[in-house]
Amino acid sequence: METFVVAMITGILVGGIYALVALGWVIIYKCSGVLNLAMGELTIIGAYVTLTFYTAGVPFIPAVLLTLVVGAFLGYLTERIFLDKLIGEPILAVIMVTVGLSFFLKGLVEFIWGTDTRVFTPPVFSIEPITLGFLKISPVYLWSFILSLVLLVVLVSFFKFTSWGLSMQATADDETAALSLGVSARFVYAASWAIAFMSAGVGGALLGNINGINISVGHLGLLVLPAVVLGGLNSIPGAIVGGITIGVLQNLAGTYLDVYFPGGVKEIVPFVFMTVFLLFKPYGLWGWERIERV
């Protein structure tokens, strides 16, 4: 029982980070219809940028804020250079541009920062576990969860209450109508990429605190894909629920299944779950069902 609760709690805490990255993914998809496979690389870039600032002597929180600025700039740049010209192209073309982008970014990251695992030195969070009754939680998880929760709230309220957020929602809902009301769709696309880069970057920085940063953080970034599929591609609450579910699933699998299937069962379970899940609910939990006509 105790192990179960610990696995659940850790899962929820890590799931918070996944939810943050997944949210960035859903924002891009909602606003511009781009299915982004480069999310893992965005996560790595965020992690490395934060690390670079941190090793240069900037404290952690300002370093994360600086990462947000750099991420927003990079996101804007990416959208302008690569994706602006592809609006309205077939789905395969757009997906593959993001794949090409992911290769490019991955190569760039490996070229600049190398492939060795790097850790935040000195450690940002203390190693001493926090004890709550019988629960022992390492502070990295807790603080990451809190930080990503704060950012989630900020992002969601940005969407609900600011005029930029509202114009993004309008574009997602009906592009033509939004254009006729004076919303600049190009601005919205660029903004959605900037936001996605920002959320992925912070997610990467937090994930990097847990296990150190190397290229495999990008694989964790891929785990957002099962998460968004679970929630439905265009649902913001779906992304949050999906992210947390994937985190929990991973940790439960790591705790209970690892005995029977030693090895990388933790990385595989989300994908297996997703494949089976899609057989029964092809549009996820809250995704829009598309009714097709000839």
Partner: protein
């Protein structure tokens, strides 16, 4: 409908003419020349004291030319006069081993890309996990060759590896059907995710954790020399691997091209263009989609089994997710929905990476020579850091170039190289009135 330009006033009169392989003598001549280059010109050259054979061919060409000039029989087209001369030249020369090994890589990627082309380009099922099926094929074949207790006479006849190629294809095909099952319900992006799941489950989990451990040799299966044997030939040199590649690739292209001319191929294209419309026309889309997955998996399995002859040790690292994406990139660069596309795309990608290598190596040599003459300073410090790094981190540069190439092609040339090829061909076919 056939896209061949016929001479003025010459029309197809029935369906079989319209779908024919070789519709004009010129096309037949070009195809035979291509096959002759692939099978005779590249790998073989006559030894010194057999050169007279080439001269015999040349003499035959002269005789044919005289017959053509003097008697001009209508069945003897001008192209056939040229053919013996071409054969004579091809018999005299061959490519060095290095170029053959480059061609082997091109062929390997083309084989893999053919399966992807079938799924993406002809059936509209986007897949990002094809390397999984190549890996399954490679491992099935390796396990059969290494651990299966073959009857003595099969080993003596050198049939173990050829049989294992077929079996590998079939097993990979069924494995592919397993991951194609969701395609009955989902499509588009959701299908992409299930194929990605195929990659991670198959390669990163099942193969790495379990299958690769069989025999207790750790990660890699080493293939002792002499195990890969086709008939009496042990596949141990670049030339033999090349001939294997050329043979399998030719068979595969013929197989896919033929399949696409059949009822099955037309059903696939109908599903690609609009699956709901296809269903109303009476096509069972689930059956045909699964059939596409089976055939693509089969081709992937054969590709993987072929890979054994080109490698000394097999490890799951040969089939990363990168390979799946690389294959999809190849068909995007080559052109979606054409068999040429798979081959042109892999030609382009392999040649680009090879020529990058040729570019970087002399650069570093040159820099080593001039490094001492440069003024010490910021600039030299930067070069000191950058130039060796270019060589060391070459794999990453390759990745970056590949990513940029995909993006550039999708943005500037969405129809791919095969469209350019088609345009160039038409320019010459319709010359001088190409408008």
């Amino acid at each position: 409908m056939s896209s061949v330009w016929l001479p003025c006033g010459d029309y197809h009169q029935n369906y079989s003419q319209d779908q024919g392989w070789w519709q004009t003598t010129l096309i037949q001549f070009k195809m035979l020349t291509l096959l002759a280059v692939a099978f005779i010109g590249c790998p073989w050259a006559l030894p010194q004291d057999w050169h007279w054979v080439a001269w015999v061919f040349a003499a035959l060409g002269v005789v044919l030319g005289l017959v053509k000039i003097i008697a001009d029989p209508p069945r003897l087209k001008g192209e056939w006069v040229l053919f013996p001369f071409i054969l004579a030249v091809l018999l005299l020369y061959r490519l060095p081993d290095y170029y053959l090994s480059v061609l082997v890589m091109i062929g390997y990627y083309s084989m893999g890309a053919l399966g992807v082309q079938l799924l993406i380009g002809y059936t509209g099922l986007i897949t990002l996990g094809h390397a999984a099926f190549i890996a399954v094929g490679a491992y099935v074949s390796a396990l059969m060759v290494l651990y299966f207790h073959w009857p003595r006479f099969i080993i003596d006849a050198g049939l173990a590896y050829p049989i294992s190629i077929i079996v590998a294809g079939v097993i990979a095909g069924f494995w592919s059907i397993l991951f194609g099952l969701p395609s009955a319900k989902v499509k588009g992006f959701y299908l992409i995710l299930t194929t990605m799941a195929a990659q991670f489950i198959t390669v990163d989990f099942i193969l790495t954790q379990y299958v690769a451990q069989i025999g207790g040799r750790g990660q890699a299966f080493s293939l002792p020399p002499g195990t890969i044997k086709v008939g009496p030939w042990v596949i141990d040199s670049d030339v033999k691997v090349y001939v294997m590649m050329a043979g399998i690739l030719t068979l595969m292209v013929a197989f896919v091209a033929n399949l696409l001319r059949s009822r099955v191929g037309r059903a696939w294209v109908a599903i690609r263009d609009n699956d709901i419309a296809a269903e109303t026309m009476g096509i069972n889309i689930v059956t045909y989609k699964l059939m596409a997955f089976f055939v693509a998996g089969f081709l992937g399995g054969v590709t993987g089994a072929f890979w054994l002859s080109n490698t000394a040790a097999l490890s799951p690292e040969h089939f990363p997710w990168f390979l799946s994406l690389w294959l999809v990139g190849i068909i995007l660069i080559g052109g979606v929905g054409s068999i040429h596309g798979a081959i042109l795309g892999s030609l382009f990608m392999v040649l680009i990476t090879e020529s990058l290598q040729w570019g970087v190596l002399p650069l570093t040599d040159y820099y080593d020579e001039i490094a001492n003459t440069l003024d010490p300073g910021r600039f030299k410090l930067m070069l000191d850091w950058l130039v060796p790094k270019l060589l060391m981190d070459f794999a990453y540069i390759k990745e970056m170039v590949f990513g940029l190439a995909i993006c550039a092609f999708l943005i500037f040339e969405p129809n791919g190289l095969s469209y350019r090829w088609w345009q160039t061909k038409n320019y010459f076919n319709l010359w001088p009135f190409s408008y």
